[in-house]
Amino acid sequence: MTLARQDVAKVAMLARLELSDAELDTMTSELSKIVGFVSLLDELDTAAVPPLAHPLDTQNVFRDDEPAPSLTTAAALQSAPRHDGEFFLVPAVLGESGAA
């Protein structure tokens, strides 16, 4: 199992990792080994096995719609690299949110 260099470059882009050409070569070779190892599973016939949605055999875990205390703003912001006491501050965000 060999990954294409461009697949690795795309995964790096999606993960916002900037890789040098040398790093890309190393990653391509190392990731190929990992994927090859996992692809051993392809040898199993899973046609009759239902897909597993969750490893625990538990369902329907809910909580009641009851408010619980939130953090203070100071506590919420304390680990942020930058804040103004009210908001988290981040480098300029222009354009649309990716939320959908």
């Binding site: 795309k10 882009m13 999606l14 916002r16 949605a53 969750h54 490893p55 625990l56 538990t58 369902q59 329907n60 875990v61 809910f62 909580r63 009641d64 719609d65 009851e66 408010p67 619980a68 205390p69 939130s70 953090l71 203070t72 703003t73 919420a76 912001l77 680990s79 930058r82 103004d84 009210e86 908001f87 988290f88 501050l89 981040v90 480098p91 300029a92 965000v93 222009l94 354009g95 649309e96 949110s97 990716g98 939320a99 959908a100």
Partner: protein, 495 residues
């Protein structure tokens, strides 16, 4: 706008909508933080909705039930088994680096919601592809005028429960799209699923639109699908779609570019300018690498549970219109007006109609007096000073002829201003109710003083009796003109 206006164009506009509504819960989808609107920034956040390491989400039961209600009301099939997935992307308003959403096993699919144009222009049954449950992101603000390099992030919204409703591309005009959204909003507000307040972000709409253009050879040319965002009212949706249809037709005439030849484009609606503008295409933005969220266990739904939710739903607006028209013998148009004003107005109407014992007159007073006043004052019915029993009392007295409709309106205005009862207002305005004996005595007096009018009426000129009304009002301003006329005519006939 009627269907004929749409068919005069050399193309068909094909529209599908994607609607996000905030579910009416007290707390967020996966934590106990409040969802109240308008709180100071970053005051409704906790380790779960901030995505801090080691925190775990637990699903809000009410959010799931409300989502089920919405899906059932939209006629969806409910999946017996559903799970939650992570939609991965990086954005500063998404602290976890992924949104918890539903991918391949949404809890519901294959529904529909019909919309009828009350003016008879169209009836459109719009298919629902799916309804699923997901969490909202936070809010990022960038003040370009301030010229700072920073954006500010408020995560109060992060983790708020949303229902995503995706329609089939079944709508055929901007007017239909707007009417359908109104019907959807009405339904969800009736059900108590969402307040659908667009100003507060409780309802958001994106639209997919393209054109089908018949060609001389019989082939249908389809323009590339454009997704429109940033529409902040239903009116904006209608305007943006109308603009986009014309823009696509112009572009097609210039380029002949068809569906599938270009990547899907996203355009933002600029409301003040009245145009859509191309948004920067995010490279590979569709590669969200969904996978099942290991922090949340699946949910199963059985028939008993569905029956319980169904039982709690009440009549949806579409059914209620028919029920109301039949029960109170009012026109479908009147029923439509009342139902479209919401459940509280319908309850108020039914209360008044029950007390008066008649629907038509209650509907008239509601539409001409109550609804108009509410619109003028921008108020809701629950704070309306004239309660149903008071309005019913007033209508009953007008029906008995204690005073005429215009006097009734004056009394209504005074009840509105003072919040007092009919009897109190009548007393304070010095409106003595004229009893029948007094009225007859007054009419006899009038006839004695006006032998010419009496002679004219007897000669067949009934309209001559009109000359008596002014004189009657001078003798007693509280008399009901219609009753004076009727009594005088009866007395003359009996002579």
């Amino acid at each position: 706008m009627t269907a004929s206006a749409a068919t005069s164009e050399p193309y068909t506009t094909v529209i599908g909508l994607e609607v996000h509504v905030q579910l009416q819960t007290r707390t967020k989808l996966f934590c106990g933080c409040s969802t109240r609107f308008g709180a100071a920034p970053n005051t409704q956040v906790c380790p779960v909705c901030l995505g801090l390491p080691g925190s775990l989400p637990v699903m809000n039961r009410t959010a799931f039930t409300l989502a089920l209600k919405a899906a059932l009301a939209l006629g969806c099939r409910i999946a017996a088994f559903t799970k939650w997935d992570r939609k991965n992307y990086f954005y500063p308003d998404l602290p976890k680096g992924y949104q918890i959403s539903q991918y391949d096993l949404p809890f519901s699919s294959d529904g529909h919601l019909e919309v009828t144009d009350p003016k008879g222009g169209f009836v459109r049954n719009v298919g629902i592809v799916r309804v699923h449950l997901e969490e909202d992101a936070g809010k990022s603000m960038h003040d370009e005028a301030a010229g700072t390099a920073d954006s500010r992030i408020d995560l109060n919204r992060a983790g708020t429960p949303l229902c995503e409703i995706v329609t089939q591309p079944d709508l055929r005009s901007p007017q239909e799209a707007r009417a359908w959204l109104n019907e959807l909003k009405l339904l969800l507000v009736y059900l108590g699923v969402s307040d659908c307040n667009m100003q507060e972000g409780s309802l958001r709409v994106d639209a997919n639109v393209n054109l089908h253009i018949p060609q001389p050879d019989g082939r249908i040319a389809k323009t590339p699908i454009v997704e429109i965002k940033n529409m902040n009212s239903f009116r904006s949706v209608e305007r943006a779609l109308a603009y986009e249809a014309v823009r696509q037709y112009d572009e097609w005439q210039a380029t002949k570019a068809e569906l599938g030849t270009t990547p899907k484009q996203t355009r933002g609606w600029d409301d003040p300018a009245g145009v859509t503008r191309a948004q920067r295409h995010k490279e590979e933005s569709s590669d969200y690498r969904y996978f099942p969220d290991p922090d949340l266990v699946p949910v199963t739904v059985d028939e008993r549970q569905l029956a319980e939710v169904r039982a709690s739903m009440g009549e949806p607006p579409a059914v209620l219109r028919g029920t109301l028209a039949a029960k109170w013998r009012i026109s479908p148009y009147d029923a439509d007006v009342l139902v479209n004003q919401g459940r509280d107005i319908v309850a108020y109407f039914e209360d008044v109609a029950t007390r008066v014992g008649e629907g038509k007159v209650a509907s008239n007073w509601l539409q001409q007096d109550v609804l108009r006043t509410l619109n003028e004052r921008g108020e809701s019915i629950d704070a309306f000073p004239v309660r149903p029993e008071a309005l019913a009392d007033l209508i009953g007295r007008v029906q008995k002829g204690e005073f005429d409709t215009s006097r009734g309106r004056e009394i209504f205005a005074e009840m509105l201003a003072s919040g007092r009862s009919v009897a109190d207002v009548v007393a304070s305005l010095g409106i003595a109710v004229v009893d029948d004996a007094d009225l007859v005595a007054l009419c006899r007096e009038l006839l004695a003083e006006n032998p010419k009018i009496v002679a004219d009426v007897r000669g067949g000129k009934e309209q001559a009796a009109a000359g008596l009304i002014g004189q009657a009002k001078k003798k007693n301003p509280n008399v009901n003109p219609a009753k004076v006329r009727q009594t005088c005519l009866e007395l003359i006939r009996a002579m």
